[in-house]
């Protein structure tokens, strides 16, 4: 029991630290990786709290898939949080799905 308690407390401290890091970090890629780490620690939490099913789900969906869709988004948008647009001109989407008339 002592062992689990110590592990849990250490993990809790790391968890909150990583969460704060994920929020303040300006480089979104690192922030996203930090969110992945949150999921990883959570899945250990779930394991300690006797929820193996949830741990497995969090591992598969939270760590792998959520992180990857975030990374794909960053690849398609901007990576830095305080990035200013070079010049503001909306893309004219020529291949519009709607033909109005």
């Amino acid at each position: 029991m002592l062992f689990y308690t110590i592990v849990l407390i250490i993990l809790a401290i790391i968890l909150l630290g990583v969460a704060i890091y994920a929020v303040v970090q300006k480089d979104l890629l690192y922030a996203v990786i930090a969110t992945g780490v949150i999921s990883l620690i959570l899945s250990v939490f779930f394991f300690i709290l006797q929820a193996p099913d949830v741990a497995l789900t969090e591992a598969a969906i939270g760590i792998a898939l959520t992180t990857i869709i975030f990374i794909i988004t960053i690849r398609n948008t901007s990576r830095m949080e305080d990035e200013m647009p070079l010049d503001h001109e909306p893309n004219s989407e020529s291949d519009n799905q709607v033909e109005t008339k």
Partner: protein, 501 residues
Amino acid sequence: MVISPVHYIAVPLLAAFLMPLLAKIHRELTRIVPGLVILYLGYVSVVLMNQVMAHGTIVEVIAGWNAPWGINLVYSPFTGFLASMMTAMAFVIWLYSYRFKKVDSQPALKYFILFMMLVTGTIGIVLTGDIFNFFVFLEITAISSYSLTAFYRDRDGAEAAFKYLLIGSFASAFILIAILLLYTQVGTLNMAQIAVRMHDVPTHMKITILILFLVGLGIEAEMFPLNGWAPDAYSQAPSPVGVTFAALVVKAGVYGLIRIIFTLFDVHGAYEYLIVMGAITLVMAELAAIRQKSLKRMLAYSSIGQMGVVMIAFGIGTNEAVFGAIFLMFNHAVIKGLLFMSGSYLVYNTPNKEIQYLSGYGMKMPLISLFFSLGALAIVGLPPFAGFWSKLYILIAAADNQMIGLIALILGVSIVEIVYYFRVVGRLYFGKPSKGSIMQKPTYGGVIAMSLLAIVILVVGFYPDVITPYIHNAADALLDKAQYIHSVLPNADLSQIQNLK
């Protein structure tokens, strides 16, 4: 197969899963199948409503586990009435959106799947008797709403959808925490069982949970100050989806709010809270509506205002008031449906959907303008139309309870409504026609849909008796908490249950 309430959920889901395959056979099937499904649900509604009126509440058990152990669907006169109303409105909206805009086959398929799931989600919210299942249906509704709001790319749909998503996520977070706290206190998720055990929950816990629910559901029910998403979503979504928001989604949110307050909790002060918040919502929304330049935003704010009236009426809590509130929910669905449908044809090609360009459209688009004017007359509550009766009942109920302030408020707001609706109608008929504006010819489906709604408004206006028996039963069913619990849990101990009002 016996007709049962689960058909409302299972059949559309089955059809939604089938539709990608059907689209491979013939692309027109993607448009026709949802209509057939909703027609079938209409048949189910007719059969079940007759059963309910004759024999009382139907409780459908899922997976063979009786309440409170499994999930159940409760088809009471109240929920049944709402579900039938939603089905009918969904059919009209389907007619309207059948060929609303020319869209590629791939987006059309996605549109109709999302639309059908939106309808399923709202009906599920109303029918379910389980609090977590309620949350799941809420999320189905929410995700399809977000996607549909961002459906067009030639307007600011994505912005509106992102706002909606942000606020909606807060709502679901609040509701989840509320469910969590509730579960620790009562050890069950069945709504009737929760109502039975609520008596033993410490008061401070009760109030915390109630506040969380009120905030979460207030967002869905467009309660002030949590309704910032609504005007954007209404005006940026495709018009049929805007109609769906007004006719189905808000109704589901209001239903959730009153189910929580009327059935689950026995906290004093919740009713007064409803009145106060409803009044604030009403005033703020109508004041915002009168300042709007865009027709769709004006309609959206007016819709929020009407929901404020509904909340006030539910808050009064007497049988007449609840009767008026349910009647107003029905009227609002029909009339606001007609206003949105005709209004979006009026502003189809005007810049920014603004009202000032509508001068003289009454001659150019006579039928659509007529529909819009009819809707405007009905919604402000002028006599021979449907809106009159619901307003009358609410005012009578307020008078019975000596709530003079509320009467003055509702009447005063009606004048504001008359001002901004008749500003539009006046411009339609007496404005100087501007040159060169392009008229949009409505589709046949659209004309049929609007005619159906107009007929309903006139029929209910002249013969309200066609609908009042159903609404009377619905109001009785909503107010009789013991009856609800008894029909779900026949063996429950009802000694601690009292109706606060």
